[in-house]
């Protein structure tokens, strides 16, 4: 594997950091200019990230060392296939989200918009840093930055509930942070390095007990953001945040950062071999299966649309982790693909929820009767997203779920196949009623039946992402070569 | 160094120290402290530390008592313990 030293990863991280500074300096006085910075940064970030794709597909690795902290411990950015997958996902969706945010924030005439865009840009920087982190410490550094940057976003509304949600979010994630810190410190002392290595670097360095402890600590640490079941509580609460935040951060950046961390731990720190030998994978798999089913059940019970989406997110995140935990090639491939695909689909759903809220101030599923006639584009996109998440072909959700099911067969654990299937069934059970209500049910009270969409700033992004999830379903390798990247990553892990 | 003399002075020193912290009048306390310092001077002279004794005589028994009394004039003589 060829390693090229390149400044591109750093640029990708810095671009939104610089944008954040510009946003603060511009401030409330010139709002258009401020929004221009956001859009410029998102586009240029995407271009930078996209420019790295060819290198990766050629099997090279890009690397940039920021500074050396200690022997064997660098603050280092390294772009490999898996990291790039996440980076591409986040940077692509940021463009959509920034457009959408502008529409949303202006539509509601929100307060403290400068702070909002500032924190958003910082959060994106951190996400990019997480994606490109070359070792556990770098990952942790950006992980904590992400935590702090998203806290004001969660508490953005500044109502007592929002502040409480912010507190809860902080309590969960900071606690997770220190657990990760302890675990990575121990790992560093055991191995003398923290650099991610496809296939893991921990093998042969620790006793079985220590391995178990480290595994639990790291999974819990990253699992908080990935909302694994007993420690998921913050995510539904955090849905109080403005919708773009829920969309990008709680469907893509934050929770995916958690999942990304878990996958890094499973595949690049411990490695499939070690996990398989120690049998830890099975425990994790069962645990996650519980989350899958449990979250889906809970989603059924939610009336608030965003809360329902949140539980669906928890469900899907667990599916991704389960894919990785099964350790078979197809399962890993499916998990990684699902990470990307789920991002596109879930962001569509959140965008829709936001658009509905901006237009009608409705938040609950039971109020959506007949909305399809008022907002056909929006609700149509919702239907696409919902079908995708459920896993109906030809949407992209199908591909990833197919690989996941295949993977569970490869792993010779039929029980997880049933988990996947049950989950898909439950997905259908909690999504289709919404679609049905919107399109086929007559509203109880008088609703404006005419065509009345939210602003174009909102509709275009949500339709784009809906279309994208369709395109990705048909051509999994379209545009940004997701499929190829994933295949490469799996090859590296299992071959390495 | 005559230890009998020494021990007598030491005992007086201890007594004046205890008196200085127990007496209920700050002015008396100042004077007792002066006595304490002065007895210390004797002790040190007798141990051969003439310079220290000289300094203590000038400072402990002289200047700092003056400070002390000045401060008492500025504040109060009263004390509860």
């Amino acid at each position: 594997m060829e390693v090229i030293s390149s400044i591109r990863p750093l640029l990708a991280v810095m671009v939104s950091l610089i944008a954040a500074c510009l946003i603060v300096l511009t401030g409330e006085r010139a709002r258009n200019l401020r929004e221009l910075w956001t859009i410029l940064a998102s586009v240029s970030k995407f271009i930078i990230v996209a420019s790295m794709i060819p290198f990766i597909i050629q099997g090279k690795t890009l690397e940039y060392t920021i500074i050396s902290l200690a022997p064997g411990l660098l603050l280092q950015l390294r772009v490999d296939a898996f990291g790039l997958l996440f980076g591409v996902l986040a940077s692509t969706l940021w463009i959509a989200t920034s457009l959408y945010s502008i529409g949303y924030m202006r539509g509601l005439n929100e307060h403290a918009q400068t702070r909002y865009f500032f924190c958003f840009a910082i959060a994106l920087s951190a996400t990019m840093g997480i994606a490109f982190a070359g070792n556990l410490l770098t990952l942790f550094v950006f992980y904590e930055v992400l935590t702090i940057a998203t806290y004001p976003l969660v508490a953005h509304k500044e109502t007592p509930e929002a502040i409480k949600a912010g507190r809860k979010y902080l309590a969960y994630t900071l606690t997770a942070g220190v657990v990760i810190l302890l675990a990575s410190a121990i790992t560093y002392r055991l191995t003398g390095t923290l650099d991610f290595k496809p296939g893991g670097f921990l093998a042969g360095h620790a006793s079985a007990d220590m391995l178990r402890f480290l595994f639990v600590a790291l999974i819990i640490g990253f699992g908080v953001k990935a909302a694994i079941m007993p420690i998921h509580e913050w995510l539904p609460t955090a849905m109080i945040a403005p919708t773009p935040v829920s969309a990008l951060l709680h469907a893509v950046a934050v929770v995916k950062a958690g999942v990304f961390g878990v996958l890094r731990v499973i595949l690049y720190v411990f490695g499939p071999g070690l996990l398989h030998d120690s049998g830890l994978w099975l425990i994790l798999a069962y645990f996650v299966s519980f989350t899958i089913i449990g979250a889906a059940m809970l989603a059924l019970a939610q009336d608030n649309l965003k809360r329902r989406l949140a539980f669906s997110t928890i469900n899907n995140l667990a599916i991704i982790i389960l894919g990785a935990a099964l350790l078979s090639p197809s399962a890993i491939k499916g998990g990684m693909l699902h990470m990307a695909n789920h991002g596109f689909m879930k962001i569509t759903l959140f965008f829709v929820a936001g658009a509905i809220y901006v237009k009608t101030h409705k938040e609950n599923v039971s109020e959506l009767d007949g909305l399809g006639r008022q907002m056909p584009l929006t609700m149509g996109s919702f239907a696409i997203g919902a079908m995708g998440v459920t896993g109906i072909p030809p949407l992209c959700g199908f591909i990833s779920k197919w690989y996941l099911c295949l993977g569970s067969l490869e792993a010779h654990e039929i029980v997880f196949l049933f988990v996947f299937l049950t989950s898909a069934f439950l997905d259908a059970a909690f999504f289709f009623p919404i679609v049905y209500r919107a399109f086929f049910k007559n509203p109880k009270e008088d609703v404006n039946p005419h065509f009345n969409e939210a602003s174009m700033f909102m509709v275009i992004p949500l339709m784009t992402t809906a279309v994208a999830s369709l395109v990705l379903g048909i051509f999994p390798n379209a545009l940004v070569h997701f499929y190829e990247i994933v295949t490469l990553a799996v090859q590296n892990i299992l071959g390495g | 160094m005559i230890w009998q003399l020494d021990i007598i002075i030491l005992i007086i020193v201890v007594i004046s120290a205890i008196a200085a912290i127990t007496v209920k009048d700050l002015l008396s306390s100042a004077i007792l402290l002066e006595a304490y310092s002065f007895l210390m001077c004797l002790l040190w002279t007798e141990m051969g530390a003439v310079d220290v004794a000289f300094t203590e005589a000038a400072v402990g028994a002289g200047i700092s008592t003056a400070f002390f009394i000045g401060a008492i004039y500025q504040t109060t003589r009263r004390t509860k313990d």
């Binding site: - | 003439v50 310079d51 004794a53 000289f54 300094t55 000038a58 400072v59 002289g62 200047i63 003056a66 400070f67 009394i69 000045g70 401060a71 004039y73 500025q74």
Partner: protein, 151 residues
Amino acid sequence: MTIEFKDVIIQTICRLLTPPIQLYALYVIAHGHYSPGGGFQGGCILGASFILMVIAYDIGEVKRRMAEKMNTIFCSLGVIIYSGIGAICLILGANYLDYGILHKILPVNPVRARALGTLGIEIGVGIAVMAVMISIFLNIASGGEHEGALE
């Protein structure tokens, strides 16, 4: 606080005593090489002579003889003499406070130069201690007002 009470006897004795006390203080400073004493003790006694004056007369009397500004200047002057002698050693090329090097500017051998350097700093200490003692006493005894007397 104004003075109500003036004792002629005390004042006269104080007036008579002050010059010998000051002379003795100077002796203590200067003779510190050969007998107990030195800058600090001498400075204290010098200061005490002024304190005696405060007790016998009032603060105004002392301030007439030693203005407050003058006193403050003396405070720092004394220490400047000390550290200045050290700095001169530094400038002459030796380590700080290495008086031996002073023989370059004094017509004596290095060992004698050390004794002279010692004398110099004793004088500095004496001045500083005297001024500081007066200053502390005046401040404490008058509560910072610098007027009136002890009754």
